[in-house]
């Protein structure tokens, strides 16, 4: 039966929710991750600690635990956002750790001479970081950052556990109302691929354009 075609508008709406969650969370994660990577290579000891603690704590906790903790635990101390906003906050906080580690690895690929040269020109640490090191670092980690993005598309599915009506939520709901799990899941899977595969191509294209060739 044409469960998927009959519910095409619902699938398209849900796909848009998933895409929105992913893109907004990724942009925030890039901000957080870059900042934290900067912390972790900075000469300021407390910031290095902060960066390390954040990365190790958040990265080693299952995303679903973070979501439950944020939504059902943190409200007890008055930290409370809408479920959609909560999903974005948790997804970007979690993904931020992976961005941070990737960017840090990228920073490490920048030749030490670059930093030394910048220093001898009298640049401060933040000038050195933002003007010299990061631009080069990003170019060498386009592919890994792309992997992080694609992982985020998949991870965004966990938002369905906190009442965000994304593709996974729709899948469960339609399974329930139609009793046709196989077709419904194939449909959801198809729309996830529709997001993931073009992202993969775009990342590949972008990488070929900007990647540092060594």
């Amino acid at each position: 039966m044409h469960v998927v075609l009959d519910n095409l508008p619902a699938f398209l709406r849900a796909t848009r929710v998933t895409a929105q969650l992913t893109v907004i969370s990724f942009l925030l994660a890039m901000l957080i991750g870059t900042l934290v990577a900067g912390f972790r290579v900075s000469p300021v000891l407390p910031l290095r600690w902060l960066g390390t603690v954040y990365v190790e704590l958040v990265r080693n906790t299952p995303l679903l635990v973070l979501i439950s903790l944020f939504v059902f635990g943190f409200t007890k101390i008055g930290i409370r956002y809408s479920y959609y906003a909560s999903a974005i906050i948790v997804l970007s906080t979690y993904t931020g750790t992976f961005v941070a580690e990737t960017v840090r690895a990228g920073i490490n690929t920048v030749a030490p001479g670059q930093a030394e040269a910048a220093r001898s020109l009298g640049l401060t640490f933040s000038q050195l970081l933002f003007a010299v090191v990061l631009p080069q670092a990003f170019r060498s980690v386009v592919a890994p950052l792309g992997s992080v993005f694609i992982a985020l598309i998949k991870n965004s599915a966990l938002a369905s556990t906190i009442a965000v009506m994304d593709l996974s939520f729709l899948g469960t709901q339609l399974t329930n109302s139609t009793g046709r799990p196989v077709a419904v899941f194939m449909g959801s899977a198809f729309f996830y691929l529709l997001l993931a595969l073009p992202s993969g191509w775009a990342i590949g294209w972008f990488e070929r354009r900007v990647a540092v060739k060594r």
Partner: protein, 292 residues
């Protein structure tokens, strides 16, 4: 950890500035911690009614038995996923076009799937196709199908990371394709891949928590049940998080140690060698090799 290279060798003025910034940042962080603590205290989150249940041995036992399920599922799924990954990697490196394509399509499809969708499918969809699984079986199957694809890619990249010379030398010695794979390529590649495999294990262990959505009776589910019963979700979920962190942190550290040792042994790696680029082990250990 000592100061990273880009922050080394500061002049006197730089040192002064770093000292000031350190003091300010340190004070800000300390203030934040104090505020968080006071907030918890003010909201009564340290009260006996909420914390005492966690000290009961019966409750601890309840939660730890959930951890046991988590670990069991992780071990079984990891073993199966490694077997599947090996098949997929060999399939993708096969000289038969069809095999290569089939393995490739499997890997691409399953790596692009959200795991939760696979888990829900195993629980709600497979029965329609006549396959009936208990929650444990469903979770293990979904984890295997997904991680098999991820590990397959890791294995393939590991094999490809060997210099061509290795397989050329093997064939010069008269080894067949399978002989050279078995005796020369795989043993060397396997050693290089260990860090990436360990870090994938961390990912897999975290992902077992998704089983809670289909009623798999693991750590998170039991923590949630406890939280509902005593109304102390914050406390009990924090406890669960700490358990996950301790296990995964230990495993991550292990992965990093192996990686460092390896880099020293093979003198190959991205950090100092120009032209090294990002190698797989590093990406794996940092969890960015396609699987988070």
């Amino acid at each position: 950890m000592t100061a990273p290279f880009i922050a080394e060798s500061l002049g006197p003025r730089g040192k002064r500035r770093v000292a000031v910034v350190s003091a300010v940042a340190g004070a800000a962080i300390a203030a934040l911690v104090v505020v968080a603590f006071l907030r918890l205290l003010h909201k009564g989150q340290f009260s006996d009614r909420l914390v005492a249940p966690l000290r009961l041995w019966a409750v601890q036992r309840f939660v730890l038995l959930g951890l046991l399920e988590t670990v069991k599922a992780a071990i079984v799924a990891m073993a199966l996923a490694m077997a599947l990954g090996t098949l997929l990697a060999l399939g993708r490196l096969s000289r038969n076009v069809l095999t290569r394509w089939l393995a490739g399509i499997y890997v691409d499809l399953f790596r692009a799937m959200p795991l939760i969708l696979l888990i829900l499918f195993c629980s709600l969809g497979l029965p329609k196709l006549g396959i009936h699984l208990q929650p444990f079986g469903g979770v293990v199957l979904a984890l295997t199908a997904y991680n098999g694809a991820v590990l397959g890619e890791i294995f393939r990249a590991g094999i490809l990371s060997l210099e061509r010379g290795q397989s050329e030398a093997a064939s010069a010695l008269g080894f067949s394709y399978w002989q050279s794979m078995r005796l020369v390529i795989v043993p060397q590649a396997a050693r290089r891949m260990i860090p990436a495999i360990v870090s994938q294990l961390v990912t897999l262990l975290k992902d077992t928590s998704l089983g809670s959505v289909i009623g798999f009776d693991e750590l998170l589910r039991r923590a949630e049940n406890t939280g509902t019963y005593y109304g102390n979700s914050l406390q009990v979920l924090t406890e669960a998080a700490v358990i996950y962190i301790v296990i995964n942190f230990t495993l991550s550290r292990l992965a990093r140690r192996l990686e460092v040792r390896q880099r020293r042994r093979y003198k190959a790696g991205p950090i100092v060698v120009p032209g090294g680029g990002m190698d797989l082990a590093v990406m794996g250990a940092q969890g960015t090799a396609s699987a988070i």
